[in-house]
């Protein structure tokens, strides 16, 4: 259950798009001419489209939250989560968990750990205690 709780947002976002930042610019410069397609989650920075345009390639943005915010496309998230579950059940995908035991009583410590970047893997709240 702890491993399952570590996966949803991180794995769905990774499934949809893996890159951003400098990697996004590098992708624009590396993508295949004419049929290349770059996908990224968000992309908060400023990026030149010229390298992409010179290759006649295309770009799509992804916001993992959209189906939850709009109510549209939630079946697609369900499909992705079923695929991820298949990978996890087969042992092909194993989340790395932070070893600390966190319950609802100590959850504020966990948020601090994540906010400070001090977690050594995914932090999961053991709600059932």
């Amino acid at each position: 259950m702890r491993e399952a709780a570590a996966l949803p947002l991180a794995a769905v976002t990774s499934w949809e798009a893996l890159v951003g930042g400098a990697t996004l610019d590098a992708s624009f410069a590396a993508v295949r001419t004419y049929h290349g397609h770059v996908v990224s989650a968000l992309g908060w920075g400023s990026h030149s489209l010229a390298p992409l345009s010179f290759r006649g390639a295309t770009y799509s943005g992804v916001v993992t939250l959209l189906p939850m915010l709009t109510g549209r496309g939630r079946e697609h998230h369900g499909d992705i989560l079923r695929e991820i579950a298949t990978l996890a059940d087969a042992g092909a995908l194993r989340p790395r968990l932070d070893g600390r035991w966190i319950t609802l009583d100590t959850v504020m410590d966990a948020y601090r750990l994540v906010a400070d970047g001090m977690a050594e893997g995914k932090v999961v709240v053991d709600v059932a205690g």
């Binding site: 709780a5 939250l65 369900g78």
Partner: protein, 78 residues
């Protein structure tokens, strides 16, 4: 759903300090996007899930969806 475990995401901590406008959450709110737990009851038109099923999901904690870092949560079966 009876929540057994809920993962923490960096987005939760950004919502906490009011730096995640794109999450469109109304404070005060329960945090938590990730859930693993057990189905307790299903709606009349829900197929594919039944009480006792162990499931996981990305189904709360943004917009007007209840956060999942709590003991129980009502979530969209899709």
């Amino acid at each position: 759903m009876r929540v057994v475990a809920s993962g923490i995401n960096p987005l939760d901590t950004k919502i906490q300090v009011g730096r995640a406008a794109h999450a469109r959450i109304q404070l005060p709110a329960v945090l938590g996007l990730d859930l693993a737990g057990v189905v307790v009851a299903v709606g009349a038109d829900v197929t594919g899930f039944e009480p006792g099923d162990e499931v996981y999901g990305l189904c709360g904690g943004v917009g007007d969806l209840q956060g999942l870092a709590g003991e129980y949560a009502a979530v969209d079966a899709r």
